[in-house]
Structure formats: structure tokens, C-alpha cells
């Protein structure tokens, strides 16, 4: 067996790192009122999942996980482009990026 990172750092630590990153992203989504920062928190959560997928992929020695990460990146790029487009439109209409400006969308 080749020398690999898992000889010294067990898989559990990668799982816990991505768990912490995911929860930081979630706190950001729940806590912040600025829509741009909320978007960035969502990116953080997606990246936590990517890290987990690559860690399991390397652990199992199966490159499929990395292909999925590639697809997740494509979807994230599309999501950010569209999301920021919507954000620009909202800003043009209500002159604010505060989430509370969109309260009428509640129901």
C-alpha cells in the first residue's frame, strides 16, 4: 500500500473538519441579514460537502467521488451566477440587500 495521508491523519478528522465547516456555514445562513454573506455561507456549506466527498473518495481509492465534486462545482457556479443576478435585481427594486426587505415573500 502506498504512503497516504490516512497513515497519520485518520478519516474521522476529515469528517469532523467538514462537519465544523458545514455548521459554520449554517450559522452564517441563520445569523446574517446581508444577502451576499448568506450566499457566501451557502458556498461554505457546499465546500464542506465537497471536502467530505474527496476525503471518502481518497479513503476508498475510488475516483467517482471526485467526479461528483466536479459536478457539484458546476452546479455551485451556476447557482452563484443566478443568485447574484437575482440579488442585483432585488437591489435595483428595493435599494437594499437586507433579507428583511423581502418580508412580503413570507407567505
Amino acid at each position: 500500500m502506498e504512503k497516504s495521508i490516512f497513515d497519520t491523519v485518520p478519516l474521522e478528522q476529515f469528517v469532523i473538519l467538514s462537519l465544523i465547516l458545514f455548521c459554520i456555514g449554517m450559522i452564517g445562513v441563520l445569523r446574517r441579514r446581508n444577502m451576499i454573506v448568506v450566499f457566501m455561507s451557502i458556498e461554505l456549506m457546499l465546500n464542506a460537502v465537497n471536502l467530505l466527498a474527496v476525503a471518502f473518495s481518497a479513503h476508498r481509492g475510488d475516483p467517482s467521488g471526485q467526479v461528483f465534486v466536479f459536478f457539484v462545482m458546476v452546479v455551485a457556479a451556476a447557482e452563484v451566477a443566478l443568485g447574484l443576478g437575482i440579488l442585483m435585481m432585488i437591489y435595483r427594486n428595493v435599494k437594499s440587500v437586507d433579507i428583511n426587505a423581502l418580508k412580503q415573500l413570507k407567505w
Binding site: E2, I5, R31, L44, H59, V69
Partner: protein
């Protein structure tokens, strides 16, 4: 040595993520997130996933963060008065929810037996192997991503176009 690098990168990642969500200025958030992405790309390199590491830098640190910076600068958020401040309690409830979910997931990780380790060769993360997989087993999803991207592009242009 591997261990030291891993803990260093993990620390940079977590500090960058915390700076992203706690800094008041959106500009600093974007820059902290760029730091986080570079550290994560180092973690991918440690996992021998070169292709993912490079694509991660190009797509996230290169394209997505430029898009964020562009929007932050264009909106010039410093002049925008933030309206209604929400209840302060809600912020602490958000932190509490995050920590408790981290606890639940951490407990789940602790009690689960993780899968057996396979043999990971250095070849697995290269463009050669991943390219072969993309164009054989995952050809249909790969082609569908192009449809997704073109649909997104058209959608964004239609959305942001000023009405006559």
C-alpha cells in the same frame, strides 16, 4: 509532517470561515472566503486529488469570488443603510442551533463505523483518470451540465437586463 500541514490548513480553513460569517464588512468576508478556499485546495492536494484542487482554485477562488467581489463593489454597501435590525437573541439562537447540530452530527460520526480503507493510488486524482471517467461512465451528466450552464447564462442575462 503530514499531520502538521493538515492541522495548519484545517486551522486556516476554520478561522477563514469564521471570519467570513462574523466580519461586519462584506468585503472582508469575501477576502476571508478566498483564504478559506486556498487552504481547502491545500487539503485536496494532501488527499492526492490534484485535479479537484486545481479546479477548485480556478472555479472558486478565481471565478466565483471575483463575481462576489464585483457585486460587493458595484452595490457599494457602505452607503446603504442597513434597515430593520433583527432581534439580538436570534443571533445567539443561530449559533446555538449550529453548535447543537454539530454536536449531533459529531455524535453520529463517533458511533458510526467508517468504511474500510481501500488502496488509493496517486493516479486516482489525475486528469487522466478523471477525464476517462467523465467521458465514459458520466458522459450524459457531463453533457447535461453544459445545458445547465447555458440555461443559467441566458437566465441571468434576461434577469438583469434593464427593462425598456
Amino acid at each position: 509532517m503530514d499531520q502538521v500541514i493538515f492541522y495548519g490548513l484545517a486551522l486556516i480553513t476554520i478561522v477563514g470561515a469564521l471570519a467570513t460569517i462574523f466580519s461586519r464588512n462584506a468585503m472582508y468576508s469575501v477576502l476571508a472566503l478566498v483564504v478559506t478556499f486556498f487552504a481547502m485546495s491545500g487539503l485536496y492536494l494532501q488527499l492526492k486529488a490534484e485535479f479537484v484542487a486545481i479546479v477548485h482554485i480556478i472555479v472558486y477562488a478565481g471565478a466565483i469570488m471575483v463575481l462576489f467581489l464585483f457585486v460587493v463593489m458595484m452595490l457599494n454597501l457602505n452607503t446603504v443603510s442597513t434597515i430593520i435590525r433583527s432581534n439580538v437573541n436570534i443571533k445567539w439562537i443561530a449559533v446555538l442551533v449550529g453548535i447543537s447540530i454539530a454536536g449531533i452530527l459529531g455524535y453520529g460520526t463517533y458511533v458510526t463505523t467508517l468504511p474500510v480503507r481501500g488502496d488509493n493510488t496517486a493516479e486516482n486524482g489525475t486528469v487522466k483518470v478523471l477525464g476517462k471517467m467523465l467521458f465514459n461512465e458520466y458522459l450524459l451528466p457531463f453533457e447535461l451540465t453544459s445545458v445547465l450552464l447555458i440555461a443559467t447564462m441566458v437566465g441571468v442575462i434576461v434577469l438583469t437586463k434593464k427593462e425598456e
